[in-house]
């Protein structure tokens, strides 16, 4: 396919922004805790995409190093988060994020 336009790094950045905003909206709208978690993962992925893009723009390998750490932290976060969700859902399988409101003031 003949390239009609040049793919500049900005396109990647824009894509990352779109993904991030979709993830943000999803987090605020969905009630199922697992789906909310998936939206967080979506946002993290958008961020990693942005970091890699910047790494290429700035010819800096630090961006890719950050992505590695983000990956590790995301993994750890998922582990702990799912542990919490498991503990929560075991008692009440139909619980949603709105049912965890015991700490209201």
């Amino acid at each position: 396919m003949i390239a009609v336009a040049e793919v500049t790094p900005v396109w990647y950045l824009v894509l990352g922004s779109i993904l991030f905003s979709i993830g943000a909206v999803g987090l605020l709208v969905r009630r199922n805790p697992l789906v909310m978690f998936m939206c967080i993962e979506l946002m993290l992925n958008a961020v990693t995409l942005t970091f890699v893009t910047f790494s290429r723009m700035l010819r800096d390998v630090d961006g890719q190093a950050v992505v590695v750490f983000v990956l590790v932290v995301a993994a750890a976060e998922v582990v702990v988060g799912l542990g919490i969700i498991v503990a929560l859902l075991r008692k009440q399988p139909s619980a949603t994020a709105d049912d965890v409101n015991v700490l209201k003031g």
């Binding site: 987090l27 605020l28 994020a97 409101n101 015991v102 700490l103 209201k104 003031g105």
Partner: protein, 643 residues
Amino acid sequence: MDTLDLVWLIPALPLAGFIVLLVLGRRLGEPVAGWLATAACGAAFLTTLVVFAALVGEDPEQRRHVYDLFTWLHVGGLDVKAGFLADPLSITMALFVTGIGTLIHLYSIGYMHGDPKFAKFFVYMNLFVFSMLMLVLGSNMLITFLGWEGVGACSYFLISFWFSKDANASAGKKAFITNRIGDWGFMTAMFLTFATVGSLDYSVVLERAPQIAPVTATAIALLLFVGACGKSAQLPLFVWLPDAMAGPTPVSALIHAATMVTSGVYLMTRVNPILAQSYSWGPDVIAWVGVITALFAATIAVAQTDIKKVLAYSTVSQLGYMFLAVGTGAYVAAIFHMVTHAFFKALMFLGSGSVIHGMHDEQDMRRMGGLRKLMPITAATFIVGWLAIAGVPPFAGFWSKDEILLFAYDKSPALWAIGLVTALLTAFYMSRQVFMVFFGDERWRKAPTADTDGTAEHDPEHHIVEPHESPWPMTVPLVVLAGLAIVGGGLNLPFTGKLKFLEHWLEPVLEGNERVIGVATNTKVGLALIATLAGVAGIVLAARVYLQKRNRPVEPELLAQGWYYDSTISAFMGGPGQKGFDAVAAFDARVIDGAVNGVATSVRGGGKGLRVLQSGFVRSYALGVAVGAVGLLLFFLTRAGGL
């Protein structure tokens, strides 16, 4: 060690006596407690003599020694040491405080015999002597104020010593509260002094006094005078002194004749450089207040029937003379009169105590009479005191009062005239007292009548107990004081410069602020003569009325009630005054407390309102975080110029 460093021992000895008696007093009991207290006071007197001798040995210019015990306060710019100042003025005061104090302690052993609270009396008396010595020996205004408050507190304790009677407790309260009003003046003066000079030390303040602006100097001087009015019972704060006679007579003698009430005069003399720096109308105010008070009190004394009340008003009057002297710049005369007054007034108070003791607690003069045959020593010494205060030469009072009147004449003939009238009245009411008590018919032999209500206990069949002379602990001090009243004039005889011991002695303290008068010797002699004549006239008038019964006594109710001054104040304070106080209290409770409580309530309300935000819903919190993040993003982008 420099002998002058012993000055700290002078107040320490009565303090030690106080502490020992506080702990062991009741166990020591009568009369050991009394002797211990007297010994403490006597030891202080001996120490004062030693320091005095050391001071005399110094050059006149070197007679000023400050001994600091430790640093009391060191806060910000304020550095106050627990220091003692040994200079001619303070040692003079210390001498007669400890000297007369010892005599009165001795007297009290006899007077308080049989009282259940015997030991406690001496506890308070020693504490008083300690406070008074701190007052006069302090090297800075704050130590003086410490003593000032201390003597006020002890005065309260001692006036209301027999507090089981409501009247005595009220009298103590009255004294303390009235003094407090004066203390406000003292405190404000201290604040002003510190603000202007930056220190409260006498050495610093008095040295820098010439650099104080006249406005400030006048303010400080007059505020200190307000304090002096409270402590030394001048108009308008004298009301506590007549009521203070509710206390035991030795208390009246020590505190309300010789020592505490003179602290005002001491204070004004101490700050004479500040007075010299103020506007001329400042000391004028002091002089006029003094002389008006003198006259006012003398008129009231004419109509009193209680033996101690006459002496109380007499004290107020004589203090007025001292302030007249201070106001006209005659500091030496003021101190001179203070010393001689201490002698004869203490003498007369102790004498009246002896009379009361002998008459078995009878204080109404109308039920006395002809006591000179039954109480010869008391009578003789009292007569000496009477002649002294009446201004009969060569007794002490004549010389000192004459000095004051001389300086008053030089300042303004009006002042002199009022002073002269007061001298006449003084002679009159004192003679009246002497004639009523020691001469004339023995009215106590008669049964009590309707209008001669005494204070003694009445039994159904009126036993007539013969009055008796008092025991030796009471008569010895009387004799000593009488001797001093006779020779006391020798302190400052006006004949030649060499005989003016007191003037030369006090020169370093006064440093030329003593007014110099240019009155011809003839005028001086003439004035002295007129003063003596006034005194004699007063005695003769009193004799005609009270001894020879040739004229009817004139004792109008107005004067007997003290020109209704006291009752007016009570009515005002009780009526509109009370409403004012209630309003202030309500303001405090509602507005000030309300404001504080309102802050708490509004915080609580705010908290309650904000609680709504804590819904517990995770998604709401997530929304909050998101909105905040967007806000931050906006902020940074606008700052960085990205938008």
